[in-house]
């Protein structure tokens, strides 16, 4: 009993932390203490009560900027995972269920794609699409497809010949119905951890891309973009880099704890 409480501790802590951060980020869409892009002459001020995280080189309030920038990062990360998850699951489901030559071929391509380091693959796709917020989202989404496809394919393939699926098939259910209604719910337990890991990778990847100057463009802000800005002011305004860096870390940390908690829960239940 005692053990179970501790295991859920990670989940609880992760959920609370993530909820608080996401709430904070969502609030930032409606209210920020200052206009995050408004410049003022209070340049490069250290953290004060008026400016909790200080101000940047143009006198913009860093706290407000982090609120708004996290939103951009969050949206990109969520859309990225959504693209990867949906497309990956469809590919994985179909290939896993039907198997055969198409399955074999797709999995070889999958192998080839996973051979590319993720940022590298994203960069290559960007070189086709051109830089920018939306293109980065699409590029990262594509990058995440193979890993989701692989995970779901295994899950679907394992269920292919299970009794109730066979009987559903005999009862004349269409393959789409079988895939969606009968099989998909059973893959949730492999999908969810994949989603949490994917989300963290997506946050990191977006930050990396924007950091390299390929993601968002000002006056838009995102975590990675702010961090690259902050890097240039590390001596004059160390609080900038530190507050942005900590925010990214906390966001990933929260979701990571959820993943950890779920995994342990899983073990306990299974």
């Amino acid at each position: 009993m005692k053990k179970k409480v501790r295991i859920n501790g990670y989940l609880a802590a992760g959920l609370i932390l993530t909820a608080v951060i996401i709430l904070w980020i969502v609030v930032g869409q409606f209210y920020t203490p200052y206009d995050p892009t408004k410049m003022s002459m209070d340049k490069l001020q250290g953290p004060t009560l008026a400016h909790l995280f200080g101000t940047d080189r143009f006198g913009r309030d860093i706290f407000s900027r982090v609120m708004r920038g996290s939103w951009t990062t969050l949206v990109i990360a969520v859309s990225t995972v959504a693209i990867g998850c949906v497309v990956g699951t469809i590919i994985g489901a179909v290939t896993g269920y039907f198997g055969g030559a198409a399955d074999e071929a797709l999995m070889r391509i999958n192998d080839a794609l996973t051979a590319f380091p993720s940022i590298l693959l994203a960069l290559v796709i960007i070189s086709f699409l051109g830089p920018g917020k939306y293109n980065v989202t699409v590029a990262l989404g594509i990058v995440f497809i193979p890993s989701f496809a692989r995970v779901t394919r295994t899950a679907f393939a394992a269920q292919r010949d299970v009794n109730y699926i066979t009987s559903a098939r005999l009862m004349g259910a269409s393959w789409i119905r079988i895939l969606v209604v009968h099989m998909l719910p059973n893959t949730i337990n492999v999908l969810l951890p994949a989603v949490t890991i994917g989300f963290n990778n997506a946050v990191l990847a977006e930050a990396s891309m924007s950091f390299l100057g390929i993601g968002v463009n000002p006056p838009d802000v995102s975590m990675g973009y702010m961090l690259s800005e902050a890097q240039g002011m590390i001596k004059a305004a160390p609080w900038y880099a530190i507050s942005v860096g900590i925010m990214i870390a906390l966001l990933i940390f929260g979701v990571g704890l959820i993943g950890e908690g779920m995994q342990r829960l899983d073990k306990e239940v299974g």
């Binding site: 501790r6 501790g9 990670y10 070889r108 391509i109 192998d111 080839a112 794609l113 996973t114 051979a115 590319f116 380091p117 993720s118 940022i119 590298l120 960069l123 290559v124 960007i126 070189s127 086709f128 830089p131 963290n200 990191l204 930050a207 990396s208 950091f211 390299l212 100057g213 390929i214 961090l227 902050a230 890097q231 590390i234 001596k235 160390p238 880099a241 530190i242 942005v244 860096g245 990214i248 870390a249 906390l250 966001l251 990933i252 940390f253 990571g256 704890l257 950890e260």
Partner: protein, 315 residues
Amino acid sequence: MKYVLRRIVTLVLTMIMVSFLSFAAFHLISGDPAVVILGTSATPERLEALRRSMGLDQPFLIQYFRWLAGFFTGNLGISYSYQQPVAALIMPKLQVTFCMVMLSFAVIIICSFPIGLFSSRIAGSRLDWLHTTFNQLCMAVPAFFLSILVTYVFGIALKWFRPGAFPDLAKNPVGAMHYLFYAAVCIAIPRIAMCVRMMRSTIIGEMEKNYVRTAISRGNDRGRVLRRHVLKNSLVPTITLLGQTMAEIVSGGIVVEQVFGIPGMGRFLVLSISNKDYPVVQALVVILAFWVIMAGTVADLLNQTVDTRLRLGGR
């Protein structure tokens, strides 16, 4: 032996696949290289002549095999931006990146195993939650944020190394490796956390298995059982993970190099992509992908020697 052969065949097939995909992709988007080189105002005759001399009038597949042959003989084409052979341009940068990645890899290996063992030891103890939390935290800190901090603290404040003053690798290898070490550690830390987590969970899983319980309850020394059986068996997933880690190190390296001002291929790759210098991008992409594929293969082959079961199992 049969397995090794099959693995090598797969390796070659994947490499061909990867290079073909890249070649086809860049072939589609890069437009007419002759126009890029001569400019839009060039006469059709000159363009035609250049196309012929570059072999651009050949069928696509022939071009691909020519390129592949060139790739293995060190002829990677001419950079659009610098009008120099790509091989000469990227070689020094690749050497730097290679050293950094290998250094990082070494750090990961050296740190992961002791920490992983230690962490499986304390599993279930009071310190466990602290360890798990710390581990998650390490995974959560982006490598480039770490790099910014390390550059500032060790480079500018403590002056242990001189950011922006990367010593020539050939002239001063010790200095260069010292410099690379900081970057390597920044890349390594999140990866170490992952490996530790993996080791821990496999060791714990292994310890709960019947044969271990039986062995210990029969009075065998716990440490000896751990060393002789558990460790060996839990090595397999860890080595696989390490093999996959190579891709992530290369990824992380692209960004971290920028922060540290390391003249590796990361900075060059990003610039070349922006500048649409496709011959350079193509060469770098394929080289890096090969590198990663090879790491995966080596990991698999290593697992072979560690775990005899794999050899028998019909993978």
